[in-house]
Symmetry: C2
Subunit: 252 residues, 2 copies
C-alpha cells in the first residue's frame, strides 16, 4: 500500500512544488508508481507538468464527490497527477462548514492506495484547511526549508501544528524529514542555517538541494529537472533524495 507524503511548509517559496515534482519524477525513474496531488490553488505543480487547463481536479473530488480515479491524468514525467483547477481557490472557505471537513482528502485517497507506491501531496503556503487535509491523509511529512534566516522562524509553528494534528486527527503522522533547499555554498548564511536546522532536527535529510538556476528554468519548459538537465547538480540531488527516501522504510 502506498506511502502518503505531505510536502508542507507555511513559509512561501521554499521549494515545496519544486520538490514534489522533481522528487516524484526521480522516484518514478526507479520504477515505482507515483501519484502527485496538487493541493495548492496556485496550481504550480499542475502547470510545471505541462497540464495548464485540466477539465477536472482535486476540487471536484473534495467538494463534489467525484471519484479521484476519474480525475487522475498521466504525465510525460512518469508520474500520475491529480491536478488543481481554478475552483480550488474557494475550497479553504467552502470546506469550513462541511462535515468531517479535515478527513475529506484521506477518504478520497483510500481506494487509490493499492495502485501506487508513493503519493506526494504539494501543499499551499499556509496551515489552513487544505494543508490540514493533507496532514490528515498523510502518513509522513517532508518539510522543505530554504537556507535562509526567515525560513527558520516558522519551523516551531509548523511542529506545533503537526502535534495538534497528531493529537486530534492523525496519531500516526511521522515527520519524515526536513530537506535543505537552495543551499548556496558560497554564503555563510546557507552554512549557518543548515547547521542550525541539523542541530534542532536530527531527522534532516543527508541530501541537500543546491541553489541552481537550471532547477528554476525547467518549469518554463513544462519539464522536471531530470528531463531538462539530466546531469545537472539539481537533477543529481533529487535522484539522491529519492534514493534516501525510498531507503527509509515507513516504519522507522
Amino acid at each position: 500500500s502506498a506511502r502518503v507524503i505531505a510536502i508542507v511548509n507555511q513559509k512561501g517559496g521554499v521549494g515545496k512544488t519544486t520538490t514534489a515534482v522533481n522528487l516524484g519524477a526521480a522516484i518514478a525513474e526507479l520504477g515505482l508508481r507515483v501519484l502527485l496531488i496538487d493541493l495548492d490553488p496556485q496550481r504550480n505543480a499542475t502547470s510545471t507538468l505541462g497540464k495548464g487547463s485540466p477539465s477536472g481536479g482535486i476540487y471536484q473530488a473534495l467538494l463534489d464527490d467525484v471519484p479521484a480515479s476519474d480525475l487522475i491524468i498521466a504525465t510525460s514525467a512518469g508520474v500520475d497527477l491529480l491536478p488543481a483547477t481554478a475552483e480550488l481557490a474557494g475550497a479553504e472557505v467552502e470546506l469550513v462548514p462541511q462535515m468531517a471537513r479535515e478527513y475529506r482528502l484521506r477518504r478520497l485517497l483510500e481506494p487509490l492506495l493499492p495502485s501506487y507506491d508513493f503519493i506526494l501531496i504539494d501543499c499551499p503556503p499556509s496551515l489552513g484547511l487544505l494543508t490540514v487535509n493533507a496532514l490528515t491523509a498523510a502518513k509522513e511529512v517532508l518539510v522543505p526549508v530554504q537556507c535562509e534566516y526567515l525560513s527558520l522562524e516558522g519551523l516551531s509553528q509548523l511542529t506545533q501544528t503537526l502535534e495538534l494534528v497528531r493529537r486530534n486527527l492523525n496519531p500516526d503522522l511521522l515527520l519524515r524529514g526536513l530537506l535543505l533547499t537552495m543551499f548556496d555554498g558560497r554564503t555563510n548564511l546557507s552554512q549557518q542555517v543548515s547547521t542550525e536546522v541539523r542541530e534542532h532536527f536530527p531527522q534532516t535529510f543527508a541530501t541537500v538541494i543546491p541553489r541552481s538556476v537550471r532547477i528554476s528554468e525547467a518549469p518554463s519548459f513544462g519539464k522536471t529537472i531530470l528531463a531538462y538537465a539530466s546531469s545537472s547538480t539539481g537533477a543529481r540531488a533529487y535522484r539522491a533524495l529519492a534514493g534516501e527516501l525510498v531507503g527509509k522504510s515507513e516504519t522507522n
Copy 2:
C-alpha cells in the same frame, strides 16, 4: 491623510515582507511618518523588526475590537508597527461568519489615517480573507514579483482578484505597480521574466531590487537593510524605490 498600500502576492517567497520592512524604513528616512501592519500569521515583519513577542497585535483589533492605536509600537527602524501575534493563525477561519468581515481592517484604520503619511500592509501568501481585508482597506496595491518563471504564473489570478475586489468591495483600488525582486543579472531567466513583466504591466516600477545576500542576512540581526548595510546595492535599491513611490502621487 495616509496613503494605504497593500503588499500582495499569493506566490510565496517573492519578497513581500522584505519589501514592506525595507521600503517602510526608506520612506521613514525621508522624514515621512510610516505605519507597518503585519497581517501575516507567519509574523515575519514583526520578528524582522525585532519585536518577537508583542503583548497584543492585529488579531485583537480585527476580532476583539481593541483600538489599533493601543496596539501600535515604535521600532528602531523609524517606522511604527501594528504587530502580528500567534492568534492571527486562526483569523482566516474565525472571520468567515463575522458581519462585514471584509471591511474590518478598513474600519479600524480610519482613525489612524491623519497620523501617518504611509501605511504599508504586509500580506500572507494567499488570497484569503486576511488579504481581502488588506485589499479593501488599501487605496493602492504593490505586487513584488520574483524574477522566476513560477512567479509569472500567478499574476493573472492576482489581477482577477483585484478586479473582483474593485467590483464588490473597493472601487478605488489602484494597482500602483509591480516590483521586480531578486533580480540576478547573470541569469537569462531574470532578464526574460523582467522583459515579460514589463510588457504585460506598464506600471512596473523602474527600480529593480537585485538578489543580494546582505538583504537576506539583515533579518537575523533584527535590522533593515538600511541599518545593516547602508551602502549595499540592496539598501540603495530600496531608497530608490521609496523615492519613486513617493514621487507617484495618489491620484495618478
